[in-house]
């Protein structure tokens, strides 16, 4: 059974690109437009990994990570943060919230898959 990855991003084009890349690589993809959307969609759903943007309306990436880590079923899953290079301190904040790793935007599909392979196996 293919692994399920949720991508959380307020940018439709980024979601589309991530979705396209992951589906081509054989993963099953769930989409959410922000942290709150993600939390409601994740309620009861089994995912193997979450890819989340940092800056989002309603609930941002850091908040989402904190919320997910507080739930038993998401305590140990890999969560990767999408950030930009100017947010080095955000990287640290994300890490402190429990992010597994990060991908720096802009990234290409190969880099995305390399990171997913790294944390998901």
């Amino acid at each position: 059974m293919s692994k399920v990855i949720m991508t959380v991003d307020d940018s439709a084009s980024v979601r589309q690109m991530v979705c396209f890349t992951l589906k081509n690589a054989g993963y099953t993809v769930l989409e959410a437009i922000d942290g709150n959307d993600a939390l409601s969609k994740l309620d009861g759903a089994a995912v193997n990994m979450v890819l989340t943007d940092l800056n989002m309306p309603n609930l941002d990436g850091i908040g989402l990570i904190r919320a997910l880590r507080a739930k038993t079923e998401f305590k140990f899953i890999p969560i990767v943060l999408l950030t930009t290079e100017s947010q080095a301190e955000k990287k640290q904040e994300g890490k402190a919230a429990g992010a597994t790793g990060w991908i720096v935007k802009p990234f290409n599909p190969e880099q995305l898959l390399a990171v997913i392979k790294k944390v998901l196996g």
Partner: protein, 710 residues
């Protein structure tokens, strides 16, 4: 990047720009609205991030400047002014132009971009001047993102490093799986991983959500050190990580031995030098000592041992790689392969036999294909075991040089046909006989310089070694330009030893072959070089066991030539399959001359003597049925197989000659090692076992029995 993604971005950018405009206009009336500022920032941020991803680098770098300013506004470091809103709106227009321009591929005016960018930079400068050293830097976009797991490729130089990876107990709660990191390391190169379990507490105290294990990893990789570090890029805050380069791998280290276990442990800081020194007084291995003493955990020692082993292996591999584009394979593996090919040949001949009997064309076709393939596999396998004889020849240069100097002679050794290939076992077993023959040439053959000059020859003697292929055999010649064999001395010696009657008239060749008799030496003095005449018969025996033959030619005063005829391989020989009373035997074809009939009349004519007249020559024969004391009745017409052994013709009488047979030699078990007449056995196509006869030995034994009887 595909076009659908770019189109998606363009659509999204248009929407964002609309939203941005609305937000900006609202912001103008309520400049302190944090929510609105956040919306503007996020819109800029998304345009920048997505733009860079889908190939709109110009938009990304342009928007970056706007975003930087709004980051300050968001953090309250800069007020929202009308100027700022105007500038941002013009920036929006510019971005929209750039988005649309991508479609039509027209170049947007750089001037306008420059103007807006410098205006934003101006705002930043002002903010800086007002104080606050916590400004984010308006750095240009880097060309490539920060390193991900994709490492530097294409570096041939290999690097060996020692890694201690000790995750913090809470590493799991970051979604990090240490096993995946180890797996990633394994993908980088040759890797030895030792897990340490000494930190795992008793079961009652274990927190199942904590990581207690830690690892020592020795890795040799062609990737850069940075690529190795990148493996831990996400985990570096959640673990203790120590990476030491222990081998740069620039040059091949001649010394295969690596550091001692104690040294490694001290280097790693697991142990102090004092502790090791105190222990080394005793005799045990250091590793055992350390564990026994309780100074250190067995896992640490195991890890150090793994490092030692790893580095040795890597160095060995490097050496092997440098030596040639060839593989070293243990000889027993090849022997195993040859054995299996033997079985295959046997099986194939069974298949051919059955296919022939069943007369089914389809089966016969398959059998023929299998036969062809088997022959190819056999030849290939045999060729793997072949070594050029040059390796052996080169050893003799030194021998000749040293010996001739000891004896005060000047001798050069020349070789020819070094590339001739022979079975590995044959080459190994050829060494001793060849040393004997060359010593003989140096000692007895080639004269002292003075004697040579007096005889009109150059003072410098010459020994020439030649190897050449001829069918399934290799001929090896040892030629010297010495004094040659002294026929009279040999004859006198032979008479003295009672080997020949004084009045015997023997052809030269037979006289020469007498020197291969045990204890025969014509040397006037015994020298350290060629001993007491134990040499030549030993040479003969070695060559016999190799299924080879030996011949001497000599011209007095001009030198002698010893020719060795050797089979290419010992594992499979061409044999002659014969039958005596339903039993099969194989005789090595190499020494067989011909097969003739022996009728009852012929036997009667000989008056009880076991001799037959073949082409005018009297040939003695051994009646194998009688020799092996086999029962049953001989057929009316038997067959004599004649062989040439030591230059003598001798016949072996069998019931029936079946034909040539390619024989896969199987050695007999230890229980039969005292049976001299049989050198091995082979399995025939129909499953019968045939014994392989050692004809020279058989002859010797028969002669001995004859002597005892008379």
């Amino acid at each position: 990047m595909t076009d659908i993604h770019q189109q998606a971005f363009q659509e999204e950018a248009r929407e964002l720009l609309c939203e941005l405009e609305t937000a900006l206009l609202e912001l103008e009336s309520t400049p302190a609205d944090q929510e609105l500022i956040g919306r503007v920032f996020r819109a800029m941020h998304t345009i920048k991030g997505s733009g860079a991803m889908f190939g709109f680098e110009d938009i990304a770098s342009f928007t970056h400047n706007v975003e930087t300013v709004y980051d300050l506004v968001r953090n309250g470091k800069m007020p929202v002014t009308k100027d700022l809103i105007d500038l941002t709106l013009s920036a929006c227009d510019q971005i929209r132009k750039m988005v649309e321009a991508f479609d039509t591929a027209t170049v947007t005016s750089d001037e306008n971009t420059e103007k807006i960018v410098s205006a934003f930079r101006g705002l930043l400068q002002d903010a800086k001047a007002q104080g606050g050293d916590t400004l984010p830097q308006g750095v240009p976009l880097p060309d490539s993102p920060e390193p991900t797991a994709v490492g530097d490729l294409g570096k041939e130089k290999s690097l060996t490093c020692r890694i201690r990876f000790r995750p913090h107990h809470d590493i799991f709660s970051y979604g990090t799986n240490p096993v995946l990191l180890l797996k990633e390391l394994r993908d980088l190169g040759v890797c030895h991983i030792v897990a340490h379990t000494d930190a795992i507490p008793e079961l009652a105290e274990i927190d199942p959500e904590s990581c207690y294990a830690y690892w020592d990893i020795i890795l040799t990789t062609t990737q850069s050190l940075n690529a190795v570090r990148d493996v831990f890029i996400f985990a570096e805050d959640n673990c203790e990580l120590k990476i030491d380069v222990i081998d740069e791998g620039a040059a091949v280290d001649e010394d295969l031995d690596y550091k001692k276990v104690g040294e490694i442990l001290i280097e790693r800081g697991d142990l102090s030098g004092e502790e090791v020194k105190n222990l080394l007084g005793t005799q045990k291995r250091i590793g055992e000592l350390l564990v026994d003493s309780g100074l250190i955990d067995p896992g640490k020692v195991e890890s150090a041992l793994a490092e030692q082993k790893h580095v040795r292996e890597i160095r060995q591999k490097k050496q092997a790689a440098e030596s040639a584009a060839s593989i070293r394979v243990p000889a027993e593996k090849l022997d195993g392969l040859v054995n299996m090919v033997g079985e295959l040949v046997t099986l194939q001949s069974r298949l051919s036999q059955i296919a022939g009997k069943m007369a089914d064309m389809r089966l016969i076709q398959i059998a023929e294909d299998v036969e062809r393939l088997t022959a190819e596999i056999r030849d290939n396998t045999m060729s793997i075991r072949m070594l050029p004889i040059g390796t052996l020849f080169s050893k003799f240069q030194r021998l000749v040089r040293d010996l001739s100097r000891d004896l005060g002679k000047e001798i050069v050794l020349t070789t020819e046909g070094e590339e001739t290939e022979l079975d590995k076992t044959v080459i190994e077993r050829l060494n001793d006989p060849l040393v004997h023959l060359i010593r003989n040439s140096i000692d007895h053959g080639i004269e002292l310089p003075g004697v040579r000059e007096a005889a009109g020859k150059p003072g410098q003697g010459h020994i020439h070694l030649t190897a050449e292929h001829s069918g399934a055999n290799v001929f090896l010649k040892i030629q010297d330009d010495g004094a040659g064999l002294n026929i009279e001395a040999i004859r006198a010696k032979a008479v003295e030893k009672g080997l020949i009657p004084p009045d015997a008239v023997l052809p030269e060749k037979e006289l020469f072959s007498l020197i291969f008799q045990p204890g025969f030496s014509t040397a006037q003095t015994v020298t350290s070089v060629s001993g007491r005449g134990v040499g030549m018969d030993v040479v003969r025996k070695s060559i016999d066991t190799l299924q080879g033959s030996i011949e001497i030619e000599s011209i007095k005063g001009q030198g002698s030539t010893v020719t060795l005829k050797l089979p290419l391989t010992l594992a499979i020989i061409d044999g002659l399959l014969v039958k005596i009373d339903e039993q099969f035997f194989v005789m090595p074809l190499s020494i067989i001359e011909e097969c003739v009939e022996l009728s009852r009349e012929d036997v009667a004519k000989a008056h009880g003597k076991k001799i037959a007249e073949i082409r005018g020559e009297i040939v003695p024969y051994i009646h194998l049925r009688g020799h092996f004391m086999m029962g049953g009745n001989a057929p009316l017409i038997e067959q004599i197989v004649t062989a040439r052994i030591d230059g003598l013709r001798i016949g072996f009488v069998v019931d029936q000659v079946v034909g040539e047979y390619q024989t896969v030699i199987k050695t007999l078990g230890r229980a039969y090692r005292n049976v001299v007449e049989v050198s091995g056995a082979t399995i025939l196509g129909d499953g019968h076992v045939a014994l392989i006869l050692d004809l020279p030995r058989l002859l010797q034994k028969a002669e001995m029995e004859e002597r005892i009887r008379t």
